[in-house]
């Protein structure tokens, strides 16, 4: 697999590390990781960096993950790049909102590396 440039958006630095570890366990290698602690920071970063995959939390202060996703699409940043939401919110309504906002995948916390692999690899292979 060629280099996978991945943006992880989560206000928790611990969760960003856990997601990165799960991606490596899922076989994404070589992996280049960019981190953002909020939707605002993520949008700024994407103005200067190209990525292949975005993983974002939903429940974040200042700009939540759904608004980040809407802004991402509205500003036409990273077009065609798959976005997977990783969140504690797991109801059908939350999944529906994420899909409507433009997410291609949804992973519920807590998660296993195997679940990350199952959701992420097909998206990368299809991109």
């Amino acid at each position: 697999m060629s280099e996978v440039r991945t943006l992880i958006v989560d206000d928790s630095s611990v969760m960003r590390k856990i997601v990165e570890r799960a991606l490596r366990q899922a076989g994404l290698d070589p992996l280049v990781v960019f981190e953002a602690g909020s939707g605002v920071d993520a949008l700024e970063l994407l103005k200067t960096q190209n990525v292949d995959l975005i993983l974002s939390d939903i429940n974040m202060p200042s700009m939540d993950g759904l608004e980040f996703l809407r802004q991402l699409r509205a500003q036409n940043l990273s077009p065609g790049v798959p976005v997977v939401m990783i969140t504690t919110e797991s109801s059908e309504e939350h999944v529906r909102q994420a899909i409507l906002a433009g997410a291609q995948g949804y992973i519920r916390k807590p998660f296993t590396a195997e679940q990350v692999k199952e959701r992420v690899l097909p998206l990368l292979n299809a991109a």
Binding site: S12, S13, V14, N59, L66, T88, K109
Partner: protein
């Protein structure tokens, strides 16, 4: 004061996610299913799930109090808002908090630094999410605040006359902690 703040944040999040209309139509069914919402097994299942998947450890519930014989303890609070208002509260001694953070990150800690606080906040967040996810009506119509984490000594969290309260203690290896679900309003 802190609980009021996290509850307001959770309520705003629930309303912002477009669930207000559903909340009105769900009122009767959630009130009718209070026995499901307050089922103690849901909390035990949530704790076991979060600790097994995120830390790779098996937790067991026990009946004694958490012995915090050390100067500092760590408390994390995640508020609920929407059809249920209240909070999920995690509390442990400093050494148990550092042990949990070590399992989460693969790092070693000798003080309660920002990474430990961050990790405990996330544990509380996942516990709150897993717990409300056990009841479908609650999962869809109840928002979560971002976690607030308190460290220090000689402090108490007081809630006036909750509608119901679940308070369980758990243990893995030699670390113990307590998780409390406080419901002070159910629509």
């Amino acid at each position: 004061m802190l609980l009021n703040g996290v509850r307001r944040a959770a309520t705003a999040r629930a309303e912002g996610s477009g669930t207000k209309e559903m909340e009105r139509t769900m009122t009767l069914s959630l009130r009718d299913s209070v026995h499901l919402v307050s089922d103690p097994k849901n909390l035990d299942g949530s704790v076991e799930e979060v600790f097994q998947l995120m830390l790779g450890v098996n937790c067991r519930r026990y009946s004694g109090p958490v012995e915090i014989a050390e100067p500092e303890s760590v408390t994390a609070v995640v508020g609920f808002g929407g059809v249920l208002s209240g909070a999920c509260v995690f509390r442990s001694g400093g050494s148990a908090a550092m042990k949990i953070a070590a399992h989460m990150t693969g790092m070693e800690f000798d003080e309660i630094d920002d990474t430990v606080k961050d990790g405990i906040g996330e544990i509380c967040n996942m516990l709150a999410g897993a717990w409300k996810g056990k009841v479908p009506d609650l999962a869809a119509n109840c928002g979560l605040s971002v976690p607030a984490v308190i460290t220090g000594r000689d402090y108490n969290l007081h809630v006036q006359a909750p509608e119901f309260k679940l308070h369980h203690t758990y243990q893995f290896d030699d670390a113990s902690f307590e998780v409390t679900i406080i419901c002070d309003g159910l629509q």
